[in-house]
Every structure is written in structure tokens, then in C-alpha cells.
Amino acid sequence: MTCVRRAVLRTRSLPKERVCGGSREYDPGNEARVIDWPASARRGSIQIRERDRHATLAWAAVVDTSPSMKAGRDRSLGEAAREAGEFWRECAAPGDRWLGVDPGGLLGGLDRALHRLPGHSARLVISDFCDLPEVPDALLRAVARGLDSTALVARDPWRKAFPLAGFVTIADLETGAVRKFFIGASERLRFERLAGERERSVLTRLTKAGWRAATFDENDGGRAVLRAFRAA
């Protein structure tokens, strides 16, 4: 969790005034790169930056709670998303602020993240990004221009093995619409291939817009956050 916070603080877009959270006297053994030269000049002794310890941050998590997150094999993606959100919250230091966002869909959640959260907040958006095609690139880039934007993309629970065959009825969790399909071996293979392609295209689009992006599945909540930072 500490490493997540450090990674956030190392983000290039962190405002200068937020970085300079404090300084202290140099102790033997401290690295030369953490010496705060301006503060040393002001005080007449060597000062060490204490930004990781003292900088206050605003943490925000936009957790998709739409019905589509109820999908899952053993448990729902929504549960894993909540775990990831809790993990994100635990990354906050005692002096940091926590800002919850009621998402109301991906588009609404991003819009609120852009307009209601302070620009220097560390944002985590957890969603299946089913609605990503409806989100304009400009909004994605605008959200990413803040302090730190991380996206956790829910993986399709059936991307590796589609569980149905024959004449099946499938209902949309979001709209409740129902359709009948005939699913054979070739349809299953096609679905698995396209689910993987869709996941890759979502990650590519988010990364190109300036996001830190990773995937998570229903058994993998908090670890996904770490994975996102490790990948970045």
C-alpha cells in the first residue's frame, strides 16, 4: 500500500506545492537524491525532502455498481471491485482525504470524477468498461490529466471457457433484454477470441489516453491494484 502511495506521489503531474510537504535535517545514510537543495539553502543546513511521509493526498475511487458488475462465475465482479476499492482506500495515509464517488454508470462516474474531484486527487476507476465506446476520448484524457488516474478493467468471466452450448437464452444484466442463441463450438471459440480482443482494446485505449490500466477478475480485487502499478 505504501508503494502505491509512493507511486502516486511520483506521478509527473503532481503539483509542486503538494510535493513539498516538509523537510528534515540530513541523517547519515540518506540518499543524496532526496536532499532538498532549496530548503538547505534557506536553512543553512542540509535538508531532506519528506514528501512521501508528509504530502497530503486526496484519494477517490469510482466503483462501478451497475447491474453488469453482477456477472461472475463463483462470485460477482462487483465484490472484487469493492475489494479493490477498499484496498485503494487503505492506501491513503492518515492525513490524506478520502472522496467517494457515486458512479451512476461509467460515463457519469468519469464526468463526476472530472468535475467534482480535486485535480490533484488520485483516482481509481473500477468497471467492466462495457460503456467505454460511449465515452469520448476527450473526457478520458481530461480525467487522466489530473494527478493520477488508474483504471481496473473487469475481465470477462467466461473469456477462457464459454460455459454454454446449444439453444440458450441470454439476458442482459443492464437492460434485462433477452435473446435466444444457438451456440456451437465455433461460436464459443469466437466469443473467447473476441472477449480477449475487447479486453486488449479497452486497455490500449485507456493507456493511450494517459491512464494506468490493468485488469481484474472476480477472484482478484486488491492484488489487481498492485498489478496496475507494477505494470506502469
Partner: protein, 291 residues
């Protein structure tokens, strides 16, 4: 096709489209057993399944139920098979056939028409020839030998004497076989004025299932009676106005099919097809399982 219980057959006919449409229309309704997925649009594009298997499945369900109802309605089909028929041409050679209101004369036009009838008659049709005036004369027993028939036409006596239609019909009936499709083509221009009453002869024809086709040449005064006779035996009545028309009418008779009809019970085939479709639909539904 006939049904022992027509009401059930009507119900079966209603059930098929109603069941099919019902299934198609209710396909979009909420279903508790449906597999829940987060993005149906993506699923639709990813699976890219053709629509016909679902339509076929719905049709199989509806058709299975409909055919079961149809089977319980006791369906019977009438099967017609071409049969080897026998026809006797019964030609009036009374004196009035010399009349020239039809060129060259009623008798000559009739003989020419019979010749064309022989030429266009289907293979397998046996043709006999009887002429009548004051009495009936059996010229040729029904045969498939076309040359013999043409030769027999040469032996038709010259028109002379009275008109014994009843005698001619009875002589023709006597030449026909006892079974199979049989018909008499009566070519005459007048009313019966001698011999057996035609009504008695027609009753005999009707009783033995011999069809009487009548072609009246010239202004026959009793043509309505002849029409009635033909109706009694399910035959054809025609009254051509010219020699060409006469030829056309008689050719039409030659081309008329003589089919043997038999009814066959279709309950078992209907039930088998219904069970097959039902089994296919059931297997399709049972195969929709989680892997």
C-alpha cells in the same frame, strides 16, 4: 386430405402459426432461467449466430404439437395413380347425322374428331368403337392397338335409320371390362326414338361406375336430357358448334386423366413426424446446458 375429426384438424392448423409466432414474440421477454451476461450487444456481435436455428427450433416445437393434434384428427389422404382406362366411343349413325350444319356433315365431322381423339389419346388407354342407328353395332372391343382402331373407323356404316341411344349405351357398356376406370364417349345429334330407354341404360352405367361423356353435334332437341345423364355418371357434357370445336372437345376428353383414387390413413406417419420433431426440439432444449 380428409379428417375423421375436422375440428381437431382446424385446431392443429391454428396451433402451428400461433405457436410459432407466440414463441418468436415471447423470445424477448424476461426469462428467469436465462444466462445473465453483462453486455448483450457484445455477446450478439461476438457469437454472430445465424437466426435460422432459433426459427427452426421454434417451428419444430410448434409443428410437433400441431402434428400431434393433426394425427389425433385422423387424417386420410387420397392418392391418385394413373390407371389403364378403357373407353368405348359410341357413335350415332342415324339418318340425321347426314345433316350438313357442320361441315362437311355431322357424321364426317364426328369420324374426323374420333380419329384425332385416337391420335392424341394417352398410351395405355384402350379404345373400343360402337355405332348405333336403329340398333347397336359393336365394331371394335377396347384395344390399345391404334391401327386397329383407325381401321375400325373405316367400317362405320353410313348414316341411316333411327336413333337407339339406349341400345348403343348398353352395347358399349357390355364391351367394357368389369373393373377399372371406364367411360363411354357418346357422339350423337338427336333424341332417342327407338329401342331401350336411355334412362335405364344410364342407371346401369351409374350402377357399374361407368362414366358417360356426351358430345352433341348439331341442334339436338334433347341435349338437356343428355346433360342430365352425364351428370348422373359424373361425366362431361359438351355441345361444340363447329367441326373444329368438336375436334377440340373430343381431344379434351382424350386427355382427361383416368386415375385410380385410394384413401390412405396418415395417422401413424403424422404421429411419427410429430414425435421426431418433438424429440429434436427436446434434444435441442436439453442440449442447452452449462458446460
Amino acid at each position: 386430405m380428409t379428417f375423421a375429426h375436422p375440428a381437431l384438424a382446424i385446431l392443429a392448423a391454428i396451433v402451428l402459426p400461433a405457436g410459432f409466432l407466440g414463441q418468436r414474440l415471447t423470445a424477448g421477454l424476461r426469462c428467469r432461467s436465462a444466462f445473465a451476461y453483462s453486455n448483450l450487444d457484445f455477446m450478439t456481435s461476438a457469437l454472430n449466430t445465424p437466426r435460422w436455428p432459433n426459427a427452426a427450433f421454434d417451428f419444430a416445437c410448434a409443428a410437433s404439437f400441431s402434428l400431434l393434434l393433426a394425427a389425433s384428427a385422423g387424417p386420410r389422404v387420397w392418392i391418385t395413380t394413373p390407371a389403364s382406362a378403357a373407353i368405348v366411343v359410341c357413335l350415332d349413325t342415324s339418318g340425321s347425322m347426314n345433316t350438313r350444319d357442320i361441315r362437311p356433315s355431322r357424321a364426317s365431322a364426328a369420324v374426323l374428331a374420333i380419329r384425332s381423339f385416337v391420335n392424341v389419346a394417352p398410351t395405355g388407354l384402350r379404345i373400343g368403337l360402337v355405332s348405333f342407328a336403329g340398333d347397336a353395332q359393336r365394331l371394335l372391343a377396347p384395344t390399345g392397338d391404334r391401327r386397329a382402331i383407325i381401321e375400325a373407323l373405316e367400317r362405320i356404316p353410313r348414316p341411316n335409320g333411327q336413333t337407339a341411344i339406349g341400345d348403343g349405351l348398353l352395347a358399349s357398356a357390355a364391351m367394357l371390362p368389369d373393373a377399372g376406370p371406364r367411360a363411354i364417349v357418346l357422339v350423337t345429334d338427336g333424341a332417342n326414338n327407338h329401342g331401350v330407354d336411355p334412362r335405364a341404360a344410364v342407371r346401369k352405367l351409374a350402377a357399374t361406375h361407368i362414366r358417360l361423356n356426351a358430345i352433341v353435334v348439331g341442334g339436338a332437341p334433347f341435349s338437356e336430357r343428355l346433360r342430365k345423364y352425364t351428370m348422373e355418371t359424373s361425366g362431361i357434357f359438351s355441345r361444340p358448334g363447329s367441326a373444329a370445336d368438336l375436334m377440340a372437345q373430343i381431344a379434351r376428353l382424350a386427355k382427361a386423366r383416368f386415375d385410380a383414387r385410394a384413401s390412405r390413413d396418415c395417422t401413424v406417419p403424422c404421429a411419427v413426424v410429430a414425435l421426431f420433431l418433438g424429440a429434436a426440439a427436446w434434444l435441442g432444449a436439453a442440449g442447452a446446458a452449462r458446460l
